[in-house]
């Protein structure tokens, strides 16, 4: 061991031991009978052990573990709510020992990390299943039925593409701990994903706090533009409801913005046999992404082609925007209530 000057060693030892609040029992060799004891037992048990007693009667945790045949360790045993102790069973010459050390603080800290990591495991599994269900299976089935081509050039089709994302999620992420961020993201995703599926859309990608979906690939009774628009409206409505709940709970509200564009796209399935993923590539796909990034909270921005296909609904007002990489573009806008106190985000 690294040699420390006695004073420092003493200091460190006292410091660590104090935190651990150790309590110990000396047991008769090969038995569970207490022959001596010491330390802060009141910290661990309402019943204070007495010499001559069986250790098991004080701590039923030890049931089946005594006498000690070989030294062992029971880490992080939760005694009462929110109190954790490490238990050491130690063999010695002529006697055995039981040592209890409080590890509550450390354990509660570790719990926070553990929680985030475990939440992620569950969320990932859920997302994987959702994606597989709504992209994988259906696309694979359609290919097998010959409804979708799988050649390298892909299939050309008129579709509508929708992009949505949560406004202000990045700063939110920076302000809160990971567990809250994951839970919040999950809650908002639960507002955004189901409407896509209900309106025969397919989730193309989930990118952090945003989603890309395409309409017009899976069979539907409606035009792809209408399905996309209904999805957008339902998403905003669901987020509005969530925000009302969050307002009541005193939680921060987040809004979403949507962009929709329609046009011809090349549809294809990329990847190997097991991991085929569907994707849409087309000029209007970029446009939809640009529109989304310009949309404000509660705003749906649609391109001219979508507006035309919807038979020019009067609820949309014309706007001209200069879009990055695209230039001046005539588009249409509608804003719906999304946060419970709009404007005061």
């Amino acid at each position: 061991m690294n040699h420390l000057p006695t004073t420092l060693f003493q200091y460190l030892a006292n410091h660590s031991i104090q935190q651990l609040e150790p309590a110990w029992l000396k047991l008769e060799k090969h038995s569970d009978i207490i022959i001596d004891m010491g330390g802060t037992w009141q910290h661990y048990s309402p019943k204070i052990p007495q010499t001559g007693q069986s250790a098991t009667t004080i701590f039923d945790v030890l049931l089946g573990m005594l006498p000690i045949h070989e030294s062992f360790e029971l880490p992080q045993v939760q005694l009462k709510n929110e109190q954790y102790t490490d238990i050491f069973a130690i063999q010695d010459n002529g006697c055995d020992w039981l040592l209890f050390c409080d590890v509550t603080q450390n354990t509660l800290q570790l719990q926070q990390y553990q929680q985030v990591s475990n939440d992620l495991i569950l969320l990932k599994a859920q997302m994987k299943q959702t994606l597989h269900r709504y992209i994988g299976h259906e696309v694979v089935a359609r290919i097998e039925q010959g409804e979708m081509l799988l050649d390298a050039a892909g299939e050309r089709k008129n579709i509508s593409t929708l992009f949505v994302d949560i406004r202000g999620f990045t700063p939110f992420n920076e302000r809160h701990d990971a567990q809250i961020v994951m839970q919040t993201l999950n809650d908002y995703m639960n507002c955004m994903l189901p409407p896509i599926m209900q309106h025969h859309g397919m989730i193309d990608k989930i990118m952090g706090d945003g989603v890309m979906a395409v309409f017009g690939v899976l069979p539907s009774q409606h035009h792809s533009s209408l399905d996309a628009l209904q999805t957008a409206k339902q998403m905003i409505q669901a987020v509005h409801q969530l925000n009302q709940q969050r307002l009541n709970q005193g939680l921060e509200q987040l809004g979403i913005g949507v962009g929709i564009a329609s046009g011809e796209a090349v549809l294809g399935v990329l990847g190997s046999h097991e991991r085929r993923t569907f994707t849409a590539i087309g000029r209007h796909v970029n446009l939809a992404a640009r529109l989304e990034s310009n949309a404000r909270v509660g705003e749906i921005l649609i391109d001219e082609a979508t507006h035309q296909a919807l038979a020019k609904p009067i609820s949309f007002t014309p706007v001209t925007l200069t879009l990055k990489g695209i230039g001046q573009t005539d588009i249409f806008s509608q804003t719906l209530p999304c946060t419970s106190n709009q404007g005061k985000l």
């Binding site: 049931l63 573990m65 360790e73 992080q76 045993v77 954790y84 354990t107 553990q114 929680q115 569950l122």
Partner: protein, 164 residues
């Protein structure tokens, strides 16, 4: 009265704590609080007129970087291995745990619970998965800590195994 210790094992988030809470307190919560180390609960059962005090060790989830210490299983008369029926990958974790328990502790009575059976849409257990588990020759139950499906029955079945 006889006392029996049992351990509940499985991957993180499969529902070990929820099953215990349903069995002992008839309670269920959607909120997930990961278990650290081990938490011990007790319940008195009447098995064919015999009073059995069941000590239930609800152990933290097995993970890549946090394996379960088999010292928790010292003195255990039986064990429950929980699998999340919506995540077939948790079967692999169950295999790994059982292999380690068999090496370190030996063969103790075990039952499998395929949990979260109320989530019918997400349920993802194949015939092949079932066949793999059946090789152990241990009882298998589908359970839901949420609705209580087969929770009481499965714990009772294990207790029965322990006193027979």
């Amino acid at each position: 009265m006889i006392q029996k210790k049992i351990c509940i094992l499985g991957a993180a988030g499969v529902g070990k704590t929820s099953l215990t809470a349903q069995f002992v307190y008839s309670k269920f919560s959607e909120k997930y609080m990961s278990t650290m180390g081990v938490k011990i609960d007790k319940k008195m059962l009447d098995i064919d007129g015999i009073q059995v005090n069941l000590m239930i060790w609800d152990i933290h989830g097995e993970e890549k970087f946090k394996k379960i210490t088999t010292s928790y299983l010292r003195g255990a008369a039986g064990m429950i291995t929980v699998i999340d029926g919506t995540r077939p990958e948790t079967i692999q974790t169950a295999h790994e745990i059982l292999t380690r328990v068999h090496t370190d502790i030996g063969n103790i009575p075990n039952i499998f619970l395929l949990n979260k059976h109320d989530l019918t849409d997400a349920w993802d257990i194949s015939e092949q998965n079932m066949a793999e588990l059946q090789k152990y020759n241990n009882p298998i139950y589908t359970t839901s800590a949420k609705t209580g499906e087969h929770v009481e029955q499965s714990f009772h079945a294990l207790a029965q195994l322990l006193i027979s």
